[in-house]
Amino acid sequence: MKPVRPNRAAAADRTPPAARPQGAVQSKSRLGDRFDAWMAHHSTTAIDSLLRLLRTPLQSLMTWLVVAIAVALPAVLYIALTNIQNIGYSWQDSSQISVFLNKQVSDSQAEELRRRWANRADIAQVTYVSPATALEEFKTASGLGDVVDSLDENPLPGVLLVQPGLAGSTPAGLAALEQVLRQEPLVTDVRIDMQWVQRLHQFMAVAQRVVMALAGLLALGVILVIGNTIRLAIENRRDEILVVKLVGGTNAYVRRPFLYTGLWYGLGGGLLALVLLAIGLGWLGGPVAHLADLYQSSFRLQGLGFIHSLQLVLLAGITGLLGAWIAVGRHLSHIEPH
């Protein structure tokens, strides 16, 4: 059989090979073209898969909400922890020992004791709060002025506020100092606020691990949910995948739209989680500020901040991508033209 020569007239759409420039320049520019086309396919696939999600808004919103809730839960706990930590730090700064004196101790006795203690190496500063001053403070702070006025005698003892020095700020030093202060006959009770703060820190260390474990579990949940959603999307587009494979689509080409879909589910869920958090913080912020004011604290609820918000959304996006990747790896290879 003799090969038939190409008939140019009948092949108006077939560019003659000679029309193409030859040589290295050509291959370079064609490589550039290929790269451009590859980039173009990425952006069109990204946009297409997003539009595809928006075309079924209710269905997509459900997946986004599931992801958002799974992301928001550990984020809420994280925010709660950092806020509690902030309270802890502000108390730790003013870590001091409150030494309650015997009711019979006079102001001059207390003043003498204050001077003696102030000379100790392990004490930085001692402040004396007389029963009268304490009562005045209580009257203004509590707003119970009338009730206090009606009392026959001042129920409050004198207090020495001891600020430990450098030697007294270690747990062991603090315990030793506490023993010394307690042995003073004029003293009825010694309270160290530090203990409370230390316990809080221990509690926080445990809580932080719990939050991390919970976040890990919920991330696994997100991966499974998105993986399952992508599996359904792959089933729905089975015909298209077959045709694409038959006309020479590589696995990467077939994979791409599904990976973008997973990414959009993750990113959308992350953004929605931020919205949920903002609503929650707005809702709680007012009452918390009011509560803090009552306790004479300038404490305010702190949100995630810009960087952490960005990290949260990106992390959600990566989790979504991972879920899609696993689903695609498991299910796409089974769809081969037969």
Binding site: R14, G248, Y253
Partner: protein
């Protein structure tokens, strides 16, 4: 262009679809493949498309031994082989234009180049005015022509067609065959599976007759 060298294909079920098949199709030739159903026509086409691998023997297309192609190379190989299916395999979620553009987009052509070549292909099959329609509203013959446009749009050197006129009346069949003949005239190697003997006689081309997985006839039908 297409060479089968002692090719056998036995499926996992134990059914032997092809037994020691030898033939060669020259570059630019137009060949018909015929035989009763189950004679191995589809299997033979699937071997050329690399949808199946032979259990024995070798298949060469354009001088390349298909046994040596890794699964990663298959997509690039398929871009040089156009396929027309009996059931068209068109996608009804997009326009005629986008259906035909698919192979070009996959091969990484620029949108401008894609548009130009899709219109040229649609013009060739006479459907340029239908490019924005959904293929579901087209008639069977028109759908088949869209399938042909998609198969030839990236100028493959080999064109395979599996019962392309199976569902069409004789007049439309002749029209479709005429299209294939035109592509063959510009140098495309074409292999068409068909059991329509009247059509094969009219076309007056080389016919490979398969029977029970073996080549029983090779030559023009009278």
């Amino acid at each position: 262009m297409i060479r089968f060298d002692n090719v056998s294909k036995r499926y996992a079920s134990g059914h032997e679809a092809l037994t020691r098949v030898d033939f060669e199709v020259e570059r630019g030739e137009m060949v018909f493949l015929t035989g009763h159903s189950g004679a191995g026509k589809s299997t033979l086409m699937k071997l050329i498309m690399l949808m199946e691998r032979p259990t024995q023997g070798q298949v060469f297309v354009d001088g390349r031994n298909l046994n040596r192609l890794s699964s990663g190379q298959i997509p690039y190989y398929r871009r040089n082989v156009g396929v027309v299916f009996q059931n068209h395999q068109l996608l009804f979620d997009r326009s005629v234009f986008d259906n035909v553009a698919l192979p070009l987009q996959i091969a990484g052509n620029t949108p401008a180049e894609t548009g130009r070549r899709v219109r040229a292909a649609l013009d060739k099959v006479g459907l340029l005015d239908k490019e924005q329609q959904n293929p579901i509203v087209l008639s069977g013959g028109e759908q088949q022509r869209v399938g042909i446009a998609r198969a030839v749009v990236n100028k493959p050197s080999v064109l395979l067609a599996d019962e392309p006129t199976g569902n069409l009346d004789p007049e439309l069949s002749a029209e479709i065959m005429n299209l294939f003949r035109q592509f063959n005239e510009v140098g495309v190697t074409i292999m068409i599976a068909s059991h329509d003997l009247e059509l094969l006689k009219r076309m007056n081309k080389r016919v490979l007759g398969l029977s029970h997985g073996q080549v029983a006839h090779d030559g023009v039908l009278w």
